[in-house]
């Protein structure tokens, strides 16, 4: 779960990391008031849970209250990579003389965390990492021992950041690590971490991603989850406990298992079609889950055909058939559905479907293999 900049900054600040003065605005009035408080020279930062907002015009400087209001009028309601802006963080302008990068993240390969520091920061850090890897210093943290001070000295030394800043940076890195541990985060990142004209080190942006699986141990964090900017269908899917991601194609996909779902999408692509979504009903899916899945996909107006690809291991094909029939029965679904049903209780499932197709006008096409199903679905989408 990714937090907004303003939420992450609040937490970072509680751990002693310096941030610029600023407040969250939910409307033009707020922007006016906050800009006045901050003396007019402000930065307006759209609060959207997506990267690259700077390049997409989601961050703007204003040199007066009036200018701030004008910018905010355009910024509220704009869409950045599909995310609608309904919150703006208004912050004082800083005179920055240097931008750096510091981040801590899960390191899968080394079964720990990576501490990454760079003497350069800002929007182009990823490119720099590829083109100038020598500008990126990192160490691996073994989580059972935690972060050693010598490791901080090591990355700071390798980063070639002037020694005068090491003491303050050491404090910031220790705070970030403490946040990582206390909040069971997957990522704590400051990019850019800026040095201002007074030599103060200030977090200009703040990123904090929490492990959703650990949220039960941090009930206070659940309230920080922001659904307002998320697609309506995605929100509904999450409510129903389904793993759904909207895409821009026209073939609805339902499969059981994440790997199976991806493989199904890949097959559609190989046949020349475009998947409208990723949807994993999960292992051992109930008829209820299958019904919900079909209803959610049917909400997407772009969907011309649904390909449902089930290989029953724990999942029972008769359960799947029941859910499918209920969805078609109750919701009068008119979209054609290509069905591939194999594995546990395959015959019972197929029998149920056969009966249903006879007694209804549902367009359900049963296929034998997933390869065949993908081909059929693409055909029907053209």
């Amino acid at each position: 779960m990714r937090l907004h900049e303003f939420q992450a900054k609040q937490i970072f600040s509680q751990y002693g990391i310096k941030i610029a003065r600023g407040k969250l605005a939910r409307n033009i009035e707020d922007v006016k008031k906050i800009a006045e408080e901050l003396g007019g020279k402000v930065v307006l930062k759209s609060q959207v849970l997506v990267g690259g907002r700077g390049k997409a015009g989601g961050i703007k400087l204003a040199n007066s209250v009036e200018e701030a209001v004008e910018i905010a009028k355009n910024m509220f309601g704009m869409t950045i990579k599909g995310h609608r802006v309904d919150k703006i963080y208004v912050e004082e302008q800083l005179n920055i003389i240097k931008e750096m990068y510091v981040g801590l993240t899960l390191d899968r390969a080394n079964k720990g965390f990576a501490l990454i520091v760079s003497s350069v920061g800002g929007m182009d850090i990823e490119e720099i990492a590829i083109k100038h890897p020598e500008k990126i210093a990192s160490v691996t943290i073994n989580p059972i021992f935690g972060l050693w001070d010598y490791q901080i000295r090591e990355v700071l030394y390798l980063s070639k950041i002037p020694r005068e800043y090491h003491k303050e940076l050491t404090k910031i890195i220790k705070s970030l690590y403490k946040i990582l541990v206390d909040y069971e985060a997957e990522l704590t990142e400051i990019n850019p971490l800026a040095i201002d004209e007074n030599g103060e080190i200030i977090a200009v942006d703040a990123r904090l991603n929490i492990d959703e699986n650990a949220l039960y141990r941090h009930p206070e964090l659940k309230d920080l989850k922001d659904y307002t900017e998320v697609d309506e269908i995605e929100r509904l899917a999450e409510e129903k406990g389904l793993n759904y991601v909207k895409l821009d194609g026209d073939i609805g996909v339902i499969a059981n298992g994440a790997g199976m779902s991806m493989a199904t999408m890949d097959l559609i692509y190989l046949e020349g079609g475009k998947p409208a979504n990723f949807l994993d009903v999960g292992g051992g899916a109930s008829s209820e889950a299958v019904k919900n899945a079909i209803n959610i996909i049917a909400m997407d107006k772009n969907v011309k055909v649904i390909f449902m690809n089930i290989f029953g291991g724990i999942t029972r094909c008769d359960e799947v058939a029941k859910g499918l029939i209920e969805a078609f029965d109750e919701s009068k679904i008119s979209i054609p559905l290509v069905l591939r049903l194999a594995g546990t209780n395959e015959d019972e499932g197929k029998e149920l479907i056969e009966e249903f197709v006879k007694r209804s006008d549902a367009k359900i096409i049963v296929v034998e293999t997933m390869e065949e199903g993908a081909k059929k679905a693409v055909e029907l989408s053209k």
Binding site: T105, I144, E184, N191, N209, D211, A214, L247, M260, M370
Partner: protein, 290 residues
């Protein structure tokens, strides 16, 4: 022979009295797996399908001499269950549980290594040594005994490919689901090493997916393997997903995509099937040549 488990393996089921534990215990017993005890704290003294239930793993091990454990304990308690198992001397642990916090998984990884044990999973479908022993949640009827080893990060996709192989008359030796989580106990490379040394296995099928660099790392090992490997990688069209900030991109250094994985595997001579069926066909072809 087989890897990880075989007909001599005696196992306990942690979380045996839960609905998942109960359901799969019955199925594993039906397959012939030697389930000798179950453990659920507070349920000691009861029985599940004739299997005695204990309060503690240590008790279960002392009583039965079990050498493996399969874990169905809910996510908040699963890490603790794994620690209990390794501290009781169990050397092979298969953790089915999904949704374990990643900070717990990191700690457990070190705990298991400290005891020189093997952890398969978490969030995996388990291990099937075909015809010998099944510690997992796989549908047994789709497998056929043979000489193809399968190692996979995905559950259903594994069944699909095993099913395809069986339909083509190609049997399997051991089928291992290493789990879909970012931090797992055993990597592709570690399983490939076992298959390379397994007398029964002649060909290995590797089923990967986007994310992480485990497939790229495996490619390095495959370069020195005697036995041929056939691969399938899911996720060419997958949405980039929730990217881990800049930091994630920096440490993966351009790896992690399906393209990167397929490229790495092809460079070391691995045939990568475009569809699950093609994977089975490649294997079939190899065998008829071979």
């Amino acid at each position: 022979m087989a890897i990880i488990i075989d007909e001599k393996t005696t196992a306990i089921v942690q979380g045996i009295t839960g609905s998942q534990g109960r359901f799969h215990t019955q199925r594993m017993l039906a397959y012939g797996t030697r389930i000798v005890a179950g453990v659920t704290p507070g349920k000691g003294g009861s029985e599940v399908f004739g299997v005695p239930v204990f309060d503690r793993v240590k008790e279960a091990v002392d009583e039965t001499g079990a050498d493996a454990s399969i874990i169905f304990v809910p996510a908040p308690f699963a890490g603790d269950a794994i620690a209990e198992a390794v501290d009781a001397g169990i050397k092979t642990i298969i953790c089915i549980t999904e949704g374990i916090p990643v900070h717990d998984e990191l700690k457990i990884y070190r705990k298991v290594k400290e005891r020189d044990a093997i952890l398969i999973g978490p969030n995996c479908p388990g291990v099937m040594s075909v015809g010998k022993s099944h510690l997992g949640i796989m549908p047994p009827h789709i497998f056929m005994e043979g000489d193809v080893g399968i190692v996979s990060r995905s559950g259903t996709l594994t069944y699909q490919i095993a099913h395809n192989l069986t339909k083509l008359g190609v049997g399997q030796s051991t089928v291992v689901g290493i789990g879909g989580d970012r931090i797992i106990g055993t990597s592709f490379t570690e399983i490939l090493k076992m298959f390379e040394e397994d007398e029964q296995t002649e060909i290995v099928v590797l089923i990967g997916e986007i994310g992480g660099t485990d497939e790229e790392d495996a490619a390095k090992f495959i370069e020195g393997m005697e036995k041929p490997v056939v691969a399938y990688i899911a996720g060419i069209t997958a949405p980039p997903g929730k990217r881990m900030g800049h930091a994630g991109a920096i440490i993966e250094g351009g790896k992690g995509s399906a393209e990167s994985k397929i490229k790495a595997l092809r460079e070391v001579g691995v045939e990568v099937g475009k569809t699950p069926m093609e994977v089975a066909e490649i294997v079939k072809r190899m065998k008829s040549r071979g």
